[in-house]
C-alpha cells in the first residue's frame, strides 16, 4: 500500500520531466563566425556580380507614348537602332490602381449586369478595363516596311490557361452560342468569343491577353507581357536597324493621370532587367566581408586580454 503510494507520488525521473533533455547550446566562437561570415560574404559577392552582369546584358528600350497626337514630333520616329536581341514586348501602365478592392473579379458590381439586367460576361471591373491598345512592329528595310511577327502564345501562366480558367462548352458546335443571354463588358468593342478571330483557341476566357490582364498587378506602376518576338527571321532577335511601331490607341489614361509605355526588352535567367538584386547582393556581401575582417581584428586584440585575465 505504502509502496504504491510512493510510486504514484514520486515524480518520474526522466530527462524531460526534470528539464534535463540533452540540448545543443550553440556557442558562436570566433573560429566559426569569422570564416562563415567571410564565406557568406564571398558567396554573396559572387552572386551579386553574376546578377549585376546579367542585368547589364539585358537590353531595354522603352517609350512613353501616352497621349501622342498625330502631329507630335515623335509620331513617326525611326526608333530602333543597333538592336540585336530576342525581344519581349511589354506595355507598362502607371497609377492604374488595379488592385483596388472593388476591383475584385468575384464582386462584379457594378459590372455584373447591364441596364437590361443581362449578365455581363466576363464580369467585373478588371475584365471591363482590359488593356486594349494593340501594337504592330515593322522593320524598315530600304524604305519598305516588313512586319515583325509578334507571338502571343504562352504569355500567360501555364496553369491559368490550362487549369484555372475554363471556357463554357460549345452549344451546337458553336462556341458563340454558349454565351447566349449574356452581354459583353461595357468597354469591350467585341464580345469575349470574338477576342481573337484568327485563332479559335484564343477566345472566350482562354484568351492570352485576357488572362495576362486578369492576373492583377501588385503595384500601381506595373508592366505586363504583351508579345514575344520569336518567329521567322527574328527568331534570333531583332537585328540592328530601323523599326516602326504602329499603335492602335484605344486605352484612355490621362483622365486619371496615368502614363503608358511600350518596352522592348530581352530576358535572362533572372527575368527582366533589375539592378536592385545585384547591387543588394554586392553590398551585403561586401558588408559581411568587412565585418569578418573587423571581427578578426577585434578578436585578435581581445584574445590576448582574455588570456591575461584567465592567467
Amino acid at each position: 500500500m505504502k509502496n504504491e503510494g510512493e510510486a504514484a507520488k514520486r515524480p518520474d525521473n526522466t530527462a524531460f520531466t526534470q528539464q534535463r533533455l540533452p540540448a545543443w547550446q550553440p556557442i558562436l566562437s570566433a573560429g566559426i563566425v569569422i570564416p562563415s561570415f567571410l564565406l557568406i560574404g564571398l558567396a554573396f559577392i559572387g552572386i551579386g556580380i553574376g546578377l549585376f552582369l546579367t542585368s547589364q546584358t539585358i537590353q531595354v528600350w522603352e517609350m512613353d507614348y501616352t497621349g501622342f497626337e498625330k502631329d507630335s514630333p515623335c509620331f513617326r520616329c525611326t526608333i530602333l537602332s543597333n538592336q540585336n536581341c530576342t525581344c519581349e514586348v511589354t506595355f507598362s501602365l502607371s497609377t492604374l490602381f488595379s488592385v483596388k478592392s472593388s476591383y475584385f473579379p468575384s464582386d462584379c458590381s457594378p459590372y455584373a449586369y447591364d441596364s437590361e439586367k443581362n449578365p455581363i460576361v466576363p464580369c467585373g471591373a478588371i475584365a471591363n478595363s482590359i488593356f486594349n491598345d494593340t501594337f504592330e512592329l515593322y522593320q524598315i528595310i530600304n524604305g519598305t516596311k516588313k512586319q515583325v511577327p509578334l507571338d502571343g502564345k504562352g504569355i500567360s501562366w501555364w496553369t491559368d490557361y490550362n487549369i484555372k480558367y475554363r471556357n463554357p462548352s460549345s452549344v451546337n458546335s458553336s462556341f458563340a452560342k454558349s454565351f447566349d443571354g449574356t452581354v459583353k463588358p461595357i468597354n469591350w468593342p467585341k464580345p469575349a468569343y470574338e477576342l481573337d478571330l484568327t485563332d479559335p483557341n484564343n477566345n472566350g476566357f482562354l484568351n492570352q491577353d485576357f488572362l495576362v490582364w486578369m492576373r492583377r498587378a501588385a503595384l500601381p506602376q506595373f508592366r505586363k507581357l504583351y508579345r514575344r518576338i520569336t518567329d521567322g527571321d527574328y527568331a534570333a532577335g531583332l537585328p540592328a536597324g530601323n523599326y516602326s511601331l504602329k499603335v492602335h490607341y484605344n486605352y484612355p489614361v490621362l483622365s486619371f493621370d496615368g502614363r503608358k509605355k511600350v518596352v522592348f526588352s530581352n530576358v535572362s535567367w533572372m527575368g527582366g532587367k533589375n539592378d536592385f538584386l545585384g547591387i543588394a547582393y554586392l553590398v551585403v556581401g561586401s558588408l559581411c566581408v568587412v565585418m569578418s575582417v573587423v571581427m578578426l581584428v577585434v578578436y585578435a586584440k581581445f584574445k590576448f586580454s582574455d588570456d591575461d585575465d584567465d592567467a
Binding site: D12, Q19, P22, V33, A218, L225, S265
Partner: protein
C-alpha cells in the same frame, strides 16, 4: 437557491431587516411545548453544489463569462464588424481563431465542471442513516434536513454539520480527525451536550445557534431541553460540540447528532467559496502593451482613412472610369462611408493584436507548471510528497520576487521540538548530566517545588495519548492497562502544538508521566510509580492574543489548583514581581540561545474563588453574544496573582539548509523579512543562525525593550548592512497611530527604513499584523512583488495577502498549503523554486510576450504599407489562408516550445550564482526599453520585407520566360520572408536546443512550405476565387524570387546575428558580463546595414535608448546613499518612544 440567499445575507448585513442573527432548530422535528406555534423554518437541503454549470445553461453562461474578458470581447467585436461591414478579409480569418480559443476554453471549463458534478454526485448520493420516529432510515445524503438526527459510524465522514447528541463511548466524547478540512491529522475530542437523555426518541429540544459562518473554529449556540413539568434546561454549545462536515469519526463506534447546518451552509462549503484571483505582473505588462498596440492599430486605421479621402478628393481619382462606384456607394452617406472604411481598416490591421497570444500564454502557464510538480528535487522522502501547484498563473511571478516574508516556526525552523532545560525558580535542570549535580545540591530545598513544576508540566496542556494501533482499544480502562505495558519510549502523544508534546515528554524524562485524560480526570504516574489523579475542571484555552493557557484541576485531596503556562511577557505581569527577576535572567539567556521559552505559574484557588470563577466561566460560555470578549475578560480575571514556578526551554532546530537558502535569497537581491509571533531574542538568534543578520550587520531595534533602555547606541557609518527589528506592540503603534499623531508620515518613515535594510525582523506578531505588513509593502511605491512563506494557520492571512503565497507542508496542519499558490515540503526548496524555476519562467514568458507582439507587428506592417500602393482600398496583401494560419500554425509551435523548454542559463548555474536573479528584477524584460527594442525590430523588419520586395517588383517580370507576377505573388514572397525571418529570429534566441526545439522550428518551416504547395496546388471547390492557385510553385520557379527571399531574411536578421555573435556566451567558465541581459544593448554599434535611411532611424532610436538605459543605470546607482536608514530610524525612534512610553506607563499603573 440557498447559497445565493446566504451570500445576500452576508453582504447586506446592516440593511436587511429580515436577517436573523440566530436560527432555531427543532431536534428531530419535534415541536416543543414552549413555543406557541411550531413553524418549521426553511433551510436549504443538504445538496452540495460546487459545479458552476448545468447542461442547459452551460453554453450561454460559459460564453457570457468568456466574453467578459476584455480581449475576447474585442475579438468578438472585430468578428462582428467583419460579418456586418463589407470588409476585404473574410470573417473566417478572425472568426476561426476566436472560435478555437473559445472552444478550447469551454472544453477545459466544461471538463472541470463535469469533474465537479461527479464529485458532487458522489457526496450527495452517499447513503446515510437518519433516525425517524425511532427507526433508522437509509437516505441519500442530499435528503438530510436541518433538525434530522443522523447516525454516523466509525471512519465515516459527517454528511453535514452536526451537534453531537450521543456517543457510543461512555464518557460522552468522540474523536474526529479533520485531515480533509485543515489537514491536522491529530484526533480531536468532541463532547456530547451534557445531560441529554439517553433515549433520543424522548428528547425534546431546540437548538438556537448563530447563522452559518465560515470560521471552522468558532461556533456559538444554546440548547433548550424540555422535560415534562420542568423548566427547560439550557446548555451552552461551543465548537467542541459541533462535528463538521468533512471531518471523519475515529475511535468511536457510532454517534448520533442533529443537523444544524446543511448543504451549502456547512462550514466546509462556506470555506471553499471564493479565493481571490491573483494576477501576475506580466499580465499587467501585457495589458499595457496591448493598449500601445491598440493605439497603433487605431492610428493606422485613422491614417489610412484620412489619406484615402485626401487622395480621392484629387481630380480623377475618386471614380476613375475603370472603377466606377456602385449605385449603393453613390447613395450612401459620406460620413457613414468614412466610418465603415475606418472599421474595415481596423479589421484589416486587427491581426496586430494576436488572439493566439492568450491561448499560448495560458497553455505555457498550464503546461509549465507541470515542471514544478514533476521536479524530483522537490520530493521529500519523509512525507512522500513533492511540490504542489495550486495556481499556474503565477509561475513567472516567482522570478520577480523582491520581498520574502517568512514565518519562523516551522518554516525557518523545523518545528521539531526538543525539551532542552528548565529552570525552577533559581536552579536549572540540564538534560545532559548536570542534572544530578544541581538536583543533589538543591534537592532538599526545592524538591517540593520541582515536583510541583513537573506536575504543572504534566497537567497544563491539551495533549492526548495516542491509542496504540489503528484498531482502537474499545474500552478505555483496558486501554490504560495496555499503555502501561508499553515501554515508555514508545508512548505517543498527539497535540496541536509540538511544544506541548516536547514539554510532556520532558516531564516524562524526569519521572512524571502523563497517562491520559479520561472522563474529565487526568492521570499522572509520579516518580514513585504511583498514579495520581486530578479532576479537570476547566481548560482556559490557548490563544495567540493572551499567549498563555491554563487549566483548573482538583486534587484528590480536594485542593483546587490553577496551572498556567505561557510566554514570559504574558506571565510576568500576572505573578508577584519579586519572583520575576530571578527567572527573567534565565529566560533571556535561553532566548538568546535560540530556544523557545515558556513560563509556568500556579495559583491555589480557595473554594469561594473557584465558585466565582466557575460561574463566571460558565456564564461566559453560555453567552450568545460577545462570547469571545466575555470569555477573554473572565480568563484575564482568573489568571491573576499567580506565583511563578519556573521556566522551560525548548529547542527548535533550523530547517535543513535554512541558512544557505536565506543567503541565496539575499544574494538574489531579495529582502527577507521574518514575521514571527515568537520572542525577540529567540527570533533574533534564529536570524543570526540563518545568516539573515551577519556579524557586521547594524541592528536597528525598535522594540519595547530598547525604548525602555533610555539610551541609543551610536552607529558606525562605515557599515553597509542594516537589520531592523520591530515588535508587535511598536508596530501597531506605527500602523494604527493615535489620532493626533501624523499617521502617514511615520508609516512611510517606517517603510523607508525597512526598504533600506537587508533584513527585517518583526517579532511578537499577531496573524493579522503579518498580513498588514505584507499589505503595506505590497502597496508601497513601485509596488514590489511580495512572497509569503509559512506553514501554519497563522500564516494563512499573509499567504493570501502576498503576490505569491507559498505553503510548507509542515507539521501544523494543511491550512497554509490549502491557501497557498505553491506548496513545497521544505524551506530549502524555495531556493530552486525561485532561482531556477521562477527565473526561467519569467524569461520564457517575457520572451513569449515580446515575441508575439513583435511577430505580429512585422506581420501587419507590410499590410499597412501596402495600402499606400493600392489606393487605400483595404486590399489585403496576404491571402486569407495565410492571414488565418500565421498565428495558429506557422509561428505558434516554436515559441510555445521555446517558452516551455528554454534555459538561457542552465539550472545549475542559476542555482550557483544567485546574483543572476537580479538581472531580471523589476520586470526587466517587460519594461518599456525592451518593448521599444522589440517594436523597433518589428518595424525595421516589416519595412525590410515590404520595400525589399517592392524594389524587386519594379520589374515584375521575374521568370525567365518573361511572364509577370501579380499581387498575390507579391504577398506570398513577403509572407515567405516573414515566416522564415520570425522563426529564425526565435532560433537565434534559443540557447537550449533540445530535439523538441529542432522538431518544431524546422517542422513548422517545412509545414509552411508544404501547406503553401498544397493550398496552391488544388482547385478548392469551396473557394470562390483560386487566388493562390500555383502562386507558390510559380514563385519557387523564379530564381530572382529565391534570391530576394534569401537576402531579405539575412538582412533582416543581420542585426540579431551580430548581437548573438558579440554576446558573450555564458558558460560555466565565463565571467559576468556587465550587460548580460538576453539582448546586450551596447553591442550593435559595429553593425552596418545597406539601407542607410532605415538603418539611420533604427540605429538612432537604438542609440537613444541605449544611452537612456545607461543613464538610468548610472542614476540609480548613485541614488543609494548609506546614511539614510539611520537618520530615518532616529526620527521614527523618537516618535515611537514618545508614544509607547506614555502608553506603557498608562498601562502598567
Amino acid at each position: 437557491s440557498c447559497c445565493n440567499r446566504f451570500r445576500t445575507e452576508s453582504i447586506s448585513c446592516g440593511g436587511d431587516e429580515k436577517r436573523v442573527d440566530s436560527r432555531t432548530i427543532y431536534v428531530g422535528h419535534r415541536p416543543c411545548p414552549d413555543t406557541e406555534a411550531f413553524i418549521p423554518s426553511k433551510f436549504c437541503d443538504n445538496r452540495i453544489v460546487s459545479s458552476k454549470y448545468t447542461v442547459w445553461n452551460f453554453l450561454p453562461k460559459n460564453l457570457f463569462e468568456q466574453f467578459r474578458r476584455i480581449a475576447n470581447f474585442y475579438f468578438l467585436i472585430i468578428f462582428l464588424v467583419q460579418v456586418i461591414v463589407d470588409t476585404p478579409t473574410s470573417p473566417v480569418t478572425s472568426g476561426l481563431p476566436l472560435f478555437f480559443v473559445i472552444t478550447v476554453t469551454a472544453i477545459k471549463q466544461g471538463y472541470e465542471d463535469w469533474l465537479r458534478h461527479k464529485a458532487d454526485k458522489e457526496v450527495n448520493k452517499y447513503p446515510v442513516t437518519v433516525l425517524e420516529d425511532g427507526r433508522s432510515v437509509k437516505k441519500e445524503s442530499e435528503k438530510i434536513k436541518v433538525g434530522d438526527v443522523v447516525e454516523v459510524v466509525e471512519d465515516e465522514t459527517f454528511p453535514c454539520d452536526l451537534i453531537l447528541l450521543q456517543s457510543s463511548r461512555e464518557d460522552g466524547t468522540c474523536f474526529v480527525t479533520t485531515a480533509s478540512l485543515d489537514g491536522e491529522s491529530n484526533h480531536k475530542t468532541h463532547y456530547t451536550v451534557p445531560d441529554t437523555e439517553k433515549d433520543l426518541q424522548a428528547l425534546t429540544a431546540t437548538i438556537e445557534c448563530e447563522q452559518p459562518q465560515p470560521d471552522l473554529y468558532k461556533f456559538v449556540g444554546r440548547m433548550h431541553i424540555y422535560k415534562q413539568e420542568q423548566e427547560p434546561a439550557v446548555r451552552s454549545l461551543g465548537p467542541e460540540n459541533l462535528l463538521l462536515k468533512g471531518a471523519t469519526l475515529k475511535n468511536t463506534k457510532k454517534i448520533y447528532g442533529v443537523a444544524v447546518y446543511t448543504g451549502m451552509e456547512t462550514k466546509m462549503a462556506l470555506n471553499y467559496q471564493g479565493k481571490s484571483q491573483k494576477r501576475s505582473a506580466v499580465e499587467k505588462s501585457i495589458n499595457a502593451f496591448l493598449l500601445v498596440y491598440l493605439c497603433i492599430l487605431i492610428s493606422k486605421a485613422v491614417v489610412c482613412t484620412t489619406l484615402k479621402y485626401v487622395w480621392q478628393s484629387k481630380e480623377g481619382q475618386d471614380e476613375p472610369w475603370y472603377n466606377q462606384k456602385t449605385q449603393k456607394e453613390k447613395d450612401s452617406n459620406m460620413y457613414l462611408k468614412m466610418f465603415t472604411d475606418f472599421l474595415s481598416f481596423m479589421v484589416l490591421f486587427n491581426f496586430i493584436i494576436p488572439v493566439s497570444m492568450y491561448v499560448t500564454v495560458e497553455m505555457q502557464k498550464f503546461l509549465g507548471s507541470f515542471f514544478i510538480t514533476w521536479d524530483k528535487d522537490f520530493f521529500d522522502p519523509e512525507i512522500q510528497e513533492g511540490a504542489l501547484v495550486n495556481t499556474s498563473d503565477l509561475n513567472e511571478e516567482l522570478g520577480q520576487v523582491e520581498y520574502v516574508f517568512t514565518d519562523k516556526t516551522g518554516t525557518l525552523t523545523q518545528n521539531n521540538m526538543e525539551f532542552i532545560e528548565c529552570c525552577i525558580d533559581v536552579h536549572i535542570i540540564c538534560m545532559l548530566g548536570f542534572m544530578c549535580h544541581f538536583v543533589c545540591l538543591f534537592i532538599s530545598i526545592y524538591q517540593e517545588k520541582e515536583e510541583l513544576f513537573l506536575r504543572a508540566l504534566c497537567l497544563c496542556h491539551t495533549v492526548q495519548v495516542k491509542e496504540a494501533g489503528s484498531e482502537v482499544l474499545a474500552d478505555q480502562v483496558d486501554g490504560i492497562d495496555g499503555l502501561l505495558l508499553q515501554p515508555e519510549e514508545e508512548r505517543g502523544f498527539i497535540a496541536s502544538s509540538p511544544d506541548e508534546i516536547a514539554l510532556v515528554k520532558g516531564a516524562m524524562k524526569y519521572g512524571f508521566t502523563f497517562l491520559g485524560l479520561e472522563s474529565k480526570s487526568m492521570k499522572i504516574k509520579n516518580r514513585q510509580n504511583d498514579i495520581e489523579e486530578y479532576k479537570l475542571l476547566h481548560v482556559l484555552n490557548f490563544d495567540p492574543v493572551r499567549r498563555r493557557m491554563s487549566v483548573i484541576v482538583q486534587t484528590t485531596s480536594g485542593e483546587t489548583l490553577l496551572f498556567c503556562k505561557g510566554a514570559d511577557s504574558s506571565i510576568f505581569p500576572r505573578v508577584r514581581p519579586e519572583e520575576v527577576d530571578r527567572i527573567r535572567m534565565h529566560v533571556e539567556r535561553n532566548a538568546t540561545e535560540g530556544y523557545r521559552t515558556l513560563c509556568v505559574a500556579y495559583k491555589q484557588l480557595s473554594a469561594e474563588e473557584y465558585a466565582m470563577a466557575d460561574t463566571g466561566l460558565r456564564e461566559a460560555r453560555l453567552a450568545l453574544q460577545d462570547r469571545e470578549e466575555k470569555l477573554m475578560a473572565m480568563y484575564n480575571q482568573v489568571e491573576m496573582g499567580m506565583s511563578l514556578i519556573g521556566a522551560t526551554a525548548v529547542e527548535d532546530r533550523l530547517q535543513e539548509e535554512a541558512a544557505e537558502t536565506m543567503e541565496a535569497l539575499q544574494g538574489a537581491g531579495m529582502k527577507v523579512w521574518v514575521l514571527t509571533g515568537d520572542k525577540m531574542e529567540t527570533a533574533k538568534s534564529t536570524c543570526y543562525a540563518c545568516r539573515l543578520f551577519q556579524r557586521g550587520t547594524e541592528l536597528l531595534e525598535l522594540t519595547v525593550r530598547t525604548l525602555e533602555d533610555e539610551r541609543l547606541k551610536s552607529w558606525s557609518t562605515a557599515n553597509q548592512d542594516y537589520g531592523f527589528i520591530i515588535d508587535g506592540a511598536t508596530l501597531s503603534l506605527v500602523m494604527n497611530p493615535p489620532r493626533d499623531a501624523d499617521a502617514s508620515q511615520y508609516k512611510s518613515l517606517f517603510l523607508q527604513i525597512c526598504q533600506n535594510c537587508t533584513a527585517v525582523l518583526c517579532c511578537r506578531m499577531a496573524p493579522l499584523q503579518k498580513a498588514q505588513i505584507v499589505k503595506m509593502v505590497k502597496n508601497s511605491k513601485g509596488s514590489p512583488i511580495t512572497l509569503s512563506i509559512g506553514d501554519g494557520a497563522n500564516d494563512v492571512s499573509m499567504i493570501l495577502e502576498a503576490h505569491v503565497g507559498i505553503g510548507i507542508k509542515g507539521k501544523e496542519g494543511r491550512q497554509a498549503v490549502r491557501n497557498s499558490d505553491y506548496a513545497v515540503p521544505k524551506l530549502k526548496h524555495l531556493k530552486k523554486l525561485l532561482l531556477a524555476h521562477g527565473h526561467l519562467y519569467y524569461v520564457r514568458i517575457a520572451h513569449l510576450v515580446q515575441y508575439f507582439f513583435y511577430k505580429n507587428l512585422c506581420f501587419i506592417l507590410p499590410q499597412f504599407l501596402y495600402q499606400f500602393f493600392c489606393g487605400y482600398s483595404q486590399q489585403p496583401l496576404y491571402d486569407a489562408a495565410y492571414l488565418t494560419m500565421y498565428n495558429i500554425c506557422f509561428t505558434s509551435m516554436p515559441i510555445l516550445a521555446y517558452s516551455l523548454l528554454e534555459q538561457h542559463t542552465s539550472i545549475e548555474i542559476l542555482l550557483d550564482n544567485a546574483a543572476l536573479y537580479r538581472e531580471i528584477a523589476n520586470n526587466a524584460m517587460l519594461r518599456w526599453h525592451p518593448f521599444l527594442y522589440w517594436t523597433v525590430l518589428g518595424i525595421f523588419q516589416g519595412l525590410m520585407f515590404f520595400f525589399g520586395v517592392r524594389f524587386l517588383f519594379s520589374n515584375p517580370a521575374l521568370q525567365d520566360n518573361g511572364q509577370v507576377f501579380g499581387n498575390w505573388s507579391y504577398g506570398t514572397i513577403v509572407f515567405t520572408v516573414l515566416v522564415f525571418t520570425v522563426t529564425l529570429k526565435l532560433a537565434l534566441d534559443t540557447r537550449h536546443w533540445t530535439w523538441i526545439n529542432h522538431f518544431v522550428i524546422w517542422g513548422s518551416l517545412a509545414f509552411y512550405v508544404f501547406f503553401s504547395f498544397f493550398w496552391g496546388g488544388i482547385i478548392w471547390p469551396f473557394l470562390k476565387q483560386q487566388r493562390l492557385y500555383f502562386v507558390f510553385a510559380n514563385m519557387l520557379s523564379s530564381v530572382s524570387a529565391w534570391l530576394v527571399i534569401i537576402i531579405l531574411i539575412l538582412l533582416s536578421l543581420l542585426p540579431e546575428i551580430l548581437l548573438v555573435v558579440l554576446r558573450k556566451p555564458r558558460g560555466p567558465h565565463s565571467r559576468q558580463v556587465y550587460f548580460s541581459l538576453p539582448f546586450p544593448l551596447l553591442s550593435l554599434n559595429s553593425s552596418f546595414l545597406p539601407y542607410p535611411s532605415y538603418f539611420l532611424i533604427f540605429s538612432l532610436i537604438y542609440i537613444l535608448f541605449c544611452s537612456s538605459f545607461i543613464l538610468h543605470h548610472v542614476l540609480t546607482r548613485c541614488d543609494v546613499t548609506q546614511s539614510q536608514p539611520i537618520t530615518r530610524y532616529l526620527k521614527l525612534y523618537s516618535y515611537v518612544k514618545q508614544w509607547l512610553v506614555s502608553l506603557l506607563v498608562a498601562g502598567l499603573h
